[in-house]
Amino acid sequence: MRKVLWSLVALIGAFAIGGVALHRGETINAMWIIVAAICIYAIGYRFYSKWVATRVLCVDATRATPAVRLNNGRDFVPTHRWIVFGHHFAAIAGPGPLIGPTLAAQFGYLPGTLWILVGAVLGGCVQDMTILFLSTRRNGRSLGQMARDELGPIGGYAAMIGTITIMLILIAVLGLVVVNAMKHSPWATSTVFATIPIAVLVGLYLRNLRPGRVLEASLIGVALLLAAVVGGGLVNEHETLRAWFDWDGRSLAAFVIGYGFIAAVLPVWLLLAPRDYLSTFLKLGTVLLLVLAVILMRPDLKMPALTQFIDGSGPIFGGALFPFVFITVACGAISGFHALVSSGTTPKLIGNETDVRLIGYGSMMLESCVAIVAMIAATLLDPGVFFAINSAPGVVGATAEAAVTTISGWGFPVTVEQMDSLAAAMGESTLFARTGGAPSLAVGMASILSSVFGQGLLAIWYHFAIMFEAVFILTTLDAGTRVGRFMVQDLLGHFSKRLGETSSYPSILVSSALVVAGWGYFLYIGVIDPNGGINILWPLFGIANQLLAGIALSVATGILIKQGQLRHAWVTAVPLAWIAVITTAATWEKIVSTDPRIGFLAAADQLANKVAAGTLSPEQMAVAPQLIFNQRLDAVLAIILTVILWIVIADMLRVARRVTRGLPVLPSSEAPAVVMEVRA
């Protein structure tokens, strides 16, 4: 009976995926993608994850986990697996899987969708589960520590540099997404600003009025956030208030940078912790609502399966389908960042080794599902509208007329009137050139949600979506700045004992300022770049994130080989090889390409030539030297990241060779086995 059922799932899945891949009509219904995704996840979870867990990792239900052995009621606590699943998913799911697929939709719906499904089932989920398992076996050690213990100091340093770099670039690119969503939008700006005092209020409630009553405080906070969305609409209609919140990109960037610094220095209970509660509730609620709405509405996707931009001429970011679709989708398929969470808090909560399947593999599957929904929300828009929102003025032309002419010329008809009436319906003055992915995602979400839950509330849903994205981008921003601060303090501690103390105020100020300056620089450059900044920063983020995944998979592969699992090491080695190929190919393109939209150096040279020829306006002239320097810096950064990845891979191969030749290697850092008495 079971066999029949699973054969049926496989058949339906194969049929749906075939339908998605071979469909060549005008539009395709989103249900094809949803059904294909569900079948693929079901089969991946039921068969592949089970096989990896039992045959490759050899999870042992009778072996006591660190949470059981070291239970201290604080960080080591055996916890029910669905609770850990919830916490782990809340930790790994950020704005990445919403933005990546939206940008990757410029290639059409097919390439991104396929990579989200295949990448997650064979790569991302396996990475998360494996690292979670290995860390659980090592008392919850971090990825960096495991790299040092199992491979040697080189791997350890590489993991540290990779983590700091990805953190800085991630925060910069996310900051840019929020800035672009708020630019000259009084409604969005006032709503996002209002989230800050709301979070502080919730923080005070949770500390002073009713300590630790998270549910009631969050309920009050979410109600206030919804009121702020409506209130933003009133601000937007009021002439004087409107002007107060009508900010340009630079002022918003300055605001985000200042905010990031203050948030990193303030005590966590005041701003970070309460806003995180709000963002987690919003995130879970909105994702559920979206999935429900997509299933109820069953929208048609208007984007073609493939667009002509697979050749690399895309307006959102330059670069051909291979390797850039893999770099752009990022977190929805495989994300190195998850390895930091999987080797952080989560392994200390696991009550039984067999739970790693649900928590590691399962959470990433759900994250990938979020990416699929984002892809649907992006591709249900008219392609002309999608490109008009997401293309920078430097690419399609500075005026609305120029932009619609360029975009219609590509075969994606769109008119100024259409864009204007859409903007009016969303309560915005314009939707042209709102790059970064958040606004087009918000338009997509608003059309889905309003068609199911309240037609005529488009503008409210649009700003709800913007607020929702902004709230958890800001959470990632200050949580990331704080983690970066700890790393810098750790580093500074080598030079001065005082600067290494995590609670000393001078040390907090100096290290926070360093971290904020690091991402603030990239954010500022992204804002002044006429090509929108996303074109530069997102690929760099993708490369950094995949680099971290490469390090995690190298550590995993090395440990598997050391444990005598050479035969099965392909489970992590194949995704690793693929990651190495795509990051190296992407870096190569970003360095040697003569197309200034792709190559960092080509772009720097082109701009330098323009400066020399004197063809730039005084405004462009003023920022040109910074842009040129930045492009060259990005080139160096991309090279460093890729070299680090190859060093770690080489180190892993060195260990593997010694194992196969029977030479001594570092001993396993696994904690000794203790038999569990009762199942927790």
């Binding site: 630790g212 549910l215 912790a273 930091l340």
Partner: protein
Amino acid sequence: MKARLQSFWRFVRELATDDAYERYLQHHRHTHEDCAPLGRRAFYLRQQQNKWSGVQRCC
């Protein structure tokens, strides 16, 4: 039905860490009989400090 709702409510509270203090008191009673437990606020502050000193949020 009522039992189900109750267990769902317990699940939601645990997921939201709404019941963290009660769990702490319970743990404390079992293991540290000799010293007085932290108050609600002190526990909440320590819990947040603890939570936000590592990688908790991602891309």
